[in-house]
Symmetry: C2
Subunit: 460 residues, 2 copies
């Protein structure tokens, strides 16, 4: 385990975070870090990822640890490295050394945790060994798939309040994740002319992330079939008329995520149909970012994207009618079936382990409208929030070939005209946007997104 | 899910494997494939890895599937893709299409599995969602950390018998894994002169694996601190006097593993002390491989490595005494504290999910001798087995600075002489060796290992 350079600022950051928590709840909380999940046999594990809630208050990706937070105090529970572990894992920091790094008030072995569980709230960690331990120690089920209840729910709401907006320490990490993510995308574009398979472009992109000693914040999408929204296959050959859609993000060592999508022509040159649609998506992207400021409803940003896309498609002759009416009947969602974005932080969909508790303002629920049901964020924005803006255009066969859909929208889609855009299967343009006091700042702005700039990056 | 090109040979291979199983057991077995393990929130999962036992008999990395094997028959249980999944995951193959690919006799939805569980044996899958389901359906605990018992143990022994030696289809996959692993190591050596951090070399190596649309078969070790045996940190700077130890392997899409280690000088040139020790390790490596043939005890191969290392260290003046006596008192293990290797197949430590059932001949148990306790394989070798040969030399502080160790071995180690080799912290040379009818074949032989050839690959 690498312990980054001590900094009083880490200690101070963590102290402030738990002080803020103490202002919101008046009961103790224990947050577990989690342990490795096994891959094909117990000793062959997936890379360890600490729980995001733990990382927020403990600052370090410690394995098999827990912290107890009460009234601004930090108690660390972790075992000292075993003597035999030095052979396999080298000299590891002791409990006391770790406690000092993070400014813990007390440090105790894990076995003592059971004496400190009375009336504590917690949040479920993903790996079974840990949620089993949580459930046993607290004598109630603590399950990652079940929404928190009672004081756990109170704790969750308090943590959401804190994590919704980012402090300076978080922003420093998020900027690092954004910078490496940008570099990865540039490497992917540069690698495209010589690549024969999607996998080769993915390798160039993830290579940048690995070289910076970071990890991907989610499973990369690098595909010429952008119409498959969660495409995690990389075996397709790159053909010169294809668009390559890459949704790849870096995550720093303490867990902060980047999340960027670019779509570029394999040949280095958009066809005129590809460029037309690209510019529609980019117009939606730019319009949304221009509107971001404290107080605006994120749902309105989504509807703005829908409107700009509808307008663009009307202009191209693909949709017919008044753009506002088209959006009201969800015609834009034929081609843009997902939400305009989501919260970004320690998780790429930040705090999605808590369901919609973070994404949706209290009292709001998901819409059952086709064009809104996938919206992950529905709150007024506040300074310090980080969100993605990621409009797209896709020709999804499951949608466009559906008989009910075709009949419902037969008069608003010019299917003949649409067929001329067959070389545009999927386009998405996604950036990470910080809400500031005066508007917004695009953390990933160093990555160009105009069609000509993208072409230049592919060809250079 | 990508379904590789149909081949009657896949169907035929699977038919032969289950026919062989039917010759060994007279009760039905159900093998589950497993499901994704979550990372930081349920929808952000680690890449899916199917259970190796399932892969052996089903051939494809299907998620959330099970197969029932009885008397040579193959019954597939898997759900058809849901209509809504087409939006997110594209067109997926149907149950019937998958059944056809693998030559299943029958295909049924998962919900029917509960009608087919009477008197069946199984083996635990690693992810909690699946072993929970296994336990519920079979009405007994099926746990990945507990050794199989009763008919599960009989099933495990039968599967070990099959998987201990590799058929042609397995070897085709293992050769592919070996070839990409070799290429990854060459890329790592070539990237070293320009790299400033371990992470950058790791990126070059894993980039090759990703570009071939494969994954790593275990978490890579790429370190200038080879003396930390399971070092999974990559942040150290590369300095010109350092040796870089890289233990990195590729895994094919159907799960077959490569596992290779090379150690090279960051500067492209071994120091004379580094070259001396390197040649001792290489001599052990070569002597072991030369001895491999059907019938030889793998434990004897381990002792041969120990002897050659002891001889070499006596010649260099680091150890003092008769090499045989030194090995008997485990003096070699001061510098070579692990086993000479292990089985390799669908798992990098093949079938280690079954404890020592595969590694140790029935009736044998781990030695408690310091020099033998970490030996993972203790069986007579047979044609068709694939093993690693991986001798090493390490200056592990936890061993060499231990007061008891120093006192026990004070007369056999020339500590003064040893101090002259301070620039050799860790060296390992590992290849994948197939036992053949007439001796052995090194599947990773395309990767040179002489000190001068390694220097050439770093400098070129």
């Amino acid at each position: 385990m690498l312990i980054p350079q001590t900094s009083t600022s880490l200690i101070e950051t963590l102290r402030l975070r738990r002080q803020q928590l103490a202002n919101l709840i008046n009961f103790p909380a224990i947050l577990w870090s989690g342990s490795n999940s096994s891959r094909n046999f117990p000793a062959n594990a997936f890379p360890f990822r600490a729980s995001s809630h733990f990382l927020y208050f403990a600052g370090l990706p410690l394995s098999k640890a827990a912290i107890r937070l009460e009234a601004g105090k930090l108690e660390l529970f972790i075992d000292d490295p075993s003597p035999s572990s030095a052979l396999w894992h080298g000299e590891m920091p002791t409990r006391e050394e770790i406690a000092q790094k993070i400014g813990a008030d007390v440090a105790r072995p894990m076995a003592e945790l059971e004496s400190w569980v009375e009336d504590v709230a917690t949040l479920a960690v993903q790996d079974a060994a840990t949620w089993t331990q949580q459930s046993q120690l607290l004598n109630r089920w603590v399950l990652p798939q079940s929404p928190p209840q009672g004081i756990d729910l109170e704790l969750a709401k308090a943590i959401v309040t804190l994590r919704l907006t980012h402090d300076q320490a978080a922003l420093t990490q998020l900027r690092k994740a954004a910078a490496v993510t940008v570099e990865a995308h540039k490497a992917g574009m540069a690698a495209t002319p010589k690549a024969k398979l999607e996998a080769e472009v993915r390798a160039a992109m993830e290579g940048v992330i690995i070289a910076h000693n970071m990890t991907t914040s989610y499973n990369s999408i690098v595909t010429v079939h952008g119409e498959v929204l969660h495409n995690e296959e990389y075996h397709h050959p790159l053909q010169s008329g294809d668009l390559l859609l890459s949704d790849v993000g870096a995550e720093t060592q303490t867990g902060w995520a980047g999340d960027v999508t670019r779509t570029w022509p394999v040949s280095g040159k958009f066809s005129s149909t590809q460029r037309d649609i690209y510019n529609v998506v980019l117009a939606a992207h730019d319009a949304c970012i221009a509107k971001i400021h404290p107080g605006i409803e994120y749902g309105d940003i989504h509807l703005l994207a829908a409107t700009v896309i509808a307008e663009g498609l009307v202009e191209l002759g693909i949709l017919q009618g008044n753009p506002q009416d088209l959006v009201e009947m969800d015609a834009h969602a034929l081609f843009f079936p997902h939400g305009i974005g989501h919260l970004l932080g320690l998780d790429v969909h930040d705090m999605e382990d808590l369901g919609d508790l973070a994404g949706y303002e209290e009292g709001r629920e998901r819409s059952d409208r086709f064009g809104l049901s996938y919206l992950r964020l529905n709150r007024p924005l506040r300074a310090g929030m980080l969100v993605t803006i990621e409009p797209g255009f896709y020709q999804v066969p499951a949608i466009l070939n559906d008989a009910n859909v075709r009949s419902k929208y037969q008069n608003v889609v010019n299917w003949q005209r649409l067929s001329e855009f067959a070389d545009v299967r999927g386009i998405r343009i996604e950036d990470d946007v910080l809400v500031t006091e005066i508007g917004s700042e695009v953390l990933t702005a160093a990555l160009p997104n105009s069609s000509s700039a993208v072409e230049d990056l592919v060809s250079c």
